[in-house]
C-alpha cells in the first residue's frame, strides 16, 4: 500500500490536514478554515482511521457539488499517496514569451495576452483584405485620440490584438452586461414598500384584531435578473478571434454573477470558474489545461448535444440569453445542430448567434451548419470588430 510520508516540518495531523485543504483550494474547491476543523472532527468519528475511511469522511465534508464530488478521489490520491502528483507542475512560472511591455498595462492583462491560448508568433497574420479596407475607411494614424480609438474599434479583430483592445473588450462586456435589463417577475412577493396592497394578508391578519385592518402589508414584483450563457467556439478557424472573445468573456463572467461560459471545439468544457479565478495566472493555467485541444477541429452539433445533456438543465431557463459565438464551420451533420438547437429553444431561452465572418463584405451564410441554425436563432449578429460587439447592446436590452 502506498503510504504518506509526513514532511519533517509538519507538526501533526492537523498541520497536514491544513495543507490538504490548501491543496483542494488550489484546485478550485471553495472551502475555508471551518472545513478543516470539520474534516478533523469527521476523521475522529469515522471509525478506524484507514485510508478508505478517512477518504470517505473528508469527502463528505469537503465536497459540495457533483463536480467536486467527482474530482475529489483523484485529488486525495495526489496529495496523500506517494505515487500521486503532489504539485501541479504548471504552477511554476513557465519560461514566458517576451511580449512588448505596455506602460500602465495591468499585470493580469499582460498575463492574458501571453497565455490565452496559442503558440503562435507574436504578430498575428494580416489578412489581405484588411489593409485595403482600412484605407477605404479613410482613417489615418495622425488623428486625435478619439478618432484613433474609433479606428481601432473598426479594425478586423484578426488584424489587431493589442492589450488595450483586450481591456476595451472587457469594459465593453461590462457595459453590455449592464444593458441587459432585469425583468420583473409576474408573481407578487411581500415587501415593505411595494406598490400594491396585500389585501389577502391584511384581511387574514385583521382577524386577530377582530376584523379591523390594523396592519398594512404590501407586495411588489421582484426583479428577476436575466441569465447569460455564452458558448465560445475555439476551433482552428476561430483561433484568432477566440483570443479576443476570451477577454470579452472574462469581462462578462467577472462583472456578472449569473453568467456561465463554455468553450467548445471537438468537445465542450465549462470555463466559468476558471475565468472567475481572481489569481489571473492560476486562471490561465486552469484555462489552458481545460482548453486542451484549443484550435483543433469543430464539432458544434455534438458540443451542443453535450451542453443540452449536462448543463442546460441547470443553467438555461426562460430568462436566459444564450450567446453562441462561432463561425458555423462544423464537421458534424447540419441535422444534428438543428435538432440540438430546437431542444435548447424548448427551454424558453433566447438565442443569439454571433458570427465573426458576417462582418466580411459579401458574406453569406452558406456553411451547412449555419443555414441549418439560422431559422432557430432569434438574432444573427456579426462581431468581427469590437464596434459590432458594442452594437449588440440595443439587441440585448430588447431581448
Amino acid at each position: 500500500m502506498q503510504v504518506t510520508k509526513f514532511p519533517t516540518r509538519a507538526a501533526g495531523v492537523s498541520d497536514r490536514m491544513a495543507d490538504f485543504m490548501a491543496h483542494l483550494r488550489l484546485n478550485g474547491f471553495r472551502i475555508g478554515v471551518q472545513e478543516t476543523e470539520q474534516a478533523l472532527l469527521a476523521i475522529a468519528d469515522c471509525g478506524r482511521p484507514t485510508m478508505r475511511n478517512v477518504r470517505l469522511a473528508t469527502k463528505s465534508v469537503c465536497t459540495g457539488s457533483a463536480h467536486t464530488f467527482a474530482r475529489f478521489d483523484d485529488l486525495f490520491d495526489a496529495f496523500w499517496k506517494n505515487g500521486g502528483r503532489v504539485r501541479n507542475k504548471d504552477r511554476q512560472t513557465p519560461p514566458r514569451k517576451q511580449t512588448p511591455d505596455v506602460p500602465g498595462m495591468h499585470s493580469s492583462l499582460r498575463a492574458w495576452q501571453d497565455k490565452t491560448g496559442l503558440e503562435e508568433s507574436g504578430e498575428p497574420d494580416e489578412p489581405e483584405d484588411g489593409a485595403e479596407e482600412q484605407d477605404a475607411n479613410g482613417h489615418g494614424t495622425g488623428e486625435l485620440i478619439a478618432s484613433r480609438q474609433r479606428q481601432m474599434r473598426d479594425t478586423d479583430l484578426r488584424q489587431f490584438a493589442s492589450p488595450e483592445l483586450f481591456r476595451e473588450a472587457e469594459i465593453l462586456a461590462e457595459q453590455l452586461g449592464k444593458a441587459m435589463r432585469h425583468r420583473r417577475s409576474r408573481r407578487l412577493r411581500k415587501s415593505k414598500s411595494g406598490s400594491r396592497l396585500d389585501l389577502r394578508k391584511m384581511i387574514r391578519r385583521s382577524l386577530a384584531y377582530g376584523g379591523e385592518p390594523m396592519e398594512v402589508f404590501r407586495r411588489h414584483n421582484p426583479r428577476r435578473p436575466s441569465e447569460l450563457v455564452i458558448l465560445l467556439d475555439a476551433s482552428g478557424s476561430m483561433t484568432l478571434y477566440a483570443k479576443i472573445f476570451l477577454a470579452f468573456l472574462r469581462g462578462f463572467v467577472t462583472t456578472r454573477q449569473r453568467t456561465e461560459a463554455f468553450l467548445f471545439h471537438t468537445r465542450l468544457v465549462r470555463i466559468s470558474d476558471a475565468l472567475r479565478d481572481k489569481d489571473s495566472l492560476r486562471a490561465l493555467n486552469r484555462l489552458s489545461l481545460l482548453a486542451n485541444g484549443f484550435g483543433g477541429g469543430t464539432q458544434i452539433g455534438s458540443s451542443l448535444a453535450h451542453f443540452n445533456k449536462s448543463f442546460a438543465a441547470q443553467s438555461v431557463n426562460g430568462r436566459s440569453i444564450v450567446l453562441i459565438i462561432s463561425d458555423g464551420y462544423d464537421t458534424d451533420p447540419p441535422a444534428l445542430i438543428q435538432a440540438e438547437l430546437i431542444k435548447l429553444r424548448k427551454r424558453g431561452c433566447r438565442l443569439i448567434w454571433v458570427n465573426p465572418l458576417k462582418g466580411w463584405r459579401g458574406y453569406e451564410a452558406v456553411a451547412g451548419a449555419m443555414t441549418a441554425a439560422l431559422p432557430h436563432v432569434d438574432l444573427f449578429a456579426s462581431a468581427s470588430t469590437l464596434g459590432d460587439l458594442a452594437d449588440l447592446e440595443p439587441h440585448l436590452a430588447r431581448l
Binding site: L56, A66, R205
Partner: protein
C-alpha cells in the same frame, strides 16, 4: 443488529450511537432494503454522529428521498417532510396562527367582559398555534428525521431562512418568544439541480452525490425490494436497464423506474425478457417517460438490448 434502534439519538448527546461505525449503518440500511454506496453511508453516519444536516444531490429517481425514509424506519423516528416549491413561505413552512379560532375566542370572551390583556394572552398561546413542518420538527421529544425535499425548488430567500434554522435550531415567534429545539432533528436535504444552491447552505451540510448504481449494487437493490424475482430474470432486468441508460435519452430511467418495470414484468408472468417481444415493448412505458424517448427506443432497439442482456 448490535444496537437497539430506539436508543439512537442525534448529537449533542449521541447515546448508543457512539460505538457504531458507518459499515454497521450500511448493513442496517441494507437489511431495511436500501443499498447505500460507501460515500452515502459515511456521510449519513457523520451527520448522525455530529448532528449536522446531510445534503443529497443526484438525478431524479435514484433514491434520495428514500434515504430519509429508510433511516427514519431504522431508528424508529418520526419522519417529517417538507416539500419545497417555488413560492414556499414561512407561514406554510414554519408556523401560522389559527385566525379563525382566535376570532371565535375573541367573540366568545367579549361577552364575558374579560380584560384585554387576558384575552391577548389567551389567543396568542400554544393552543392557537398551527405547527408547520419546521416548527414541528424542533418540538419533538424524540429526535425526528426532517426531510426537506427538493430544496432547490424553493426560492433563495427561503434558503436564507432555512440556513438560520439549521444553524441554531431555534425559531422565534414574536408573540411567544423564542422556541428552542427540544431534540435536534436529523435533517436530510435533497436537490436535483433545478438551480445552484448557495455555498453557505452547502458548507453547513455533509454532502453526498447519489448517482445511478452500478450493476452489482442495482442487483442488490432489486433483490432487496423485489425478492420474488428469480436470479436469472433479475440479472436480465438489471443488465437491460444499465444498457438503456447508456442510450441517448431525455429522461434516463432511475431506480424507481427500474423497480416499476421489474414489478410489471413479474406481474405479466414473463420469465425471460427475450420470450415475448410485444409484451416487452408494451412494458417500456415504465422506463421511458417522454414522447421523444418512446420514439427513439423502437422495438428493434429493445430487442437488441434484450438480446445483449440475455
Amino acid at each position: 443488529m448490535r444496537h437497539g434502534a430506539a436508543g439512537l439519538s442525534v448529537a449533542p448527546s449521541p447515546l448508543g450511537y457512539e460505538e457504531m461505525t458507518w459499515t454497521d449503518l450500511k448493513d442496517q440500511m441494507a437489511t431495511a432494503g436500501y443499498v447505500a454506496s460507501d460515500e452515502l453511508a459515511m456521510a449519513l453516519h457523520l451527520s448522525i454522529s455530529q448532528g449536522r444536516p446531510l445534503l443529497l444531490e443526484g438525478a431524479a429517481g435514484v433514491g434520495k428521498t428514500q434515504v430519509a425514509k429508510t433511516i427514519a424506519g431504522i431508528r424508529g423516528a418520526k419522519l417529517i417532510r417538507l416539500q419545497c416549491y417555488e413560492g414556499l413561505d414561512a407561514s406554510s413552512a414554519i408556523y401560522e396562527w389559527n385566525y379563525q379560532r382566535q376570532l371565535l375566542a375573541i367573540r366568545a370572551t367579549s361577552e364575558t367582559g374579560q380584560g384585554i390583556d387576558k384575552v391577548e394572552d389567551e389567543i396568542f398561546s400554544e393552543k392557537y398555534l398551527l405547527e408547520r413542518p419546521l416548527l414541528e420538527a424542533i418540538r419533538q421529544n424524540d429526535s425526528p428525521v426532517l426531510l426537506i425535499d427538493e430544496v432547490d425548488r424553493a426560492d433563495e430567500e427561503f434558503e436564507a431562512y432555512l440556513l438560520e434554522i439549521l444553524s441554531d435550531f431555534q425559531i422565534s415567534i414574536p408573540e411567544l418568544g423564542t422556541i428552542n429545539a427540544v431534540s435536534r432533528p436529523l435533517v436530510v436535504l435533497t436537490a436535483n439541480g433545478t438551480r445552484d444552491l448557495s455555498d453557505a447552505l452547502r458548507r453547513r451540510c455533509f454532502y453526498s452525490f447519489v448517482g445511478y448504481p452500478d450493476r452489482k449494487t442495482e442487483l442488490a437493490i432489486l433483490a432487496a425490494r423485489c425478492p420474488d424475482i428469480d436470479d436469472h430474470l433479475a440479472l436480465q432486468i438489471v443488465s437491460f436497464v444499465q444498457d438503456l441508460r447508456k442510450e441517448d435519452l431525455e429522461k434516463t430511467p432511475g431506480i424507481a423506474e427500474m423497480l416499476d418495470w421489474a414489478t410489471a414484468i413479474a406481474g405479466l408472468g414473463v420469465n425471460d425478457i427475450t420470450d415475448n417481444p410485444a409484451a416487452l415493448q408494451a412494458t417500456m412505458v415504465c422506463l421511458l417517460k417522454t414522447e421523444a424517448d418512446s420514439a427513439a427506443i423502437t422495438s428493434e432497439v429493445t430487442q437488441r438490448l434484450a438480446g445483449k442482456a440475455a
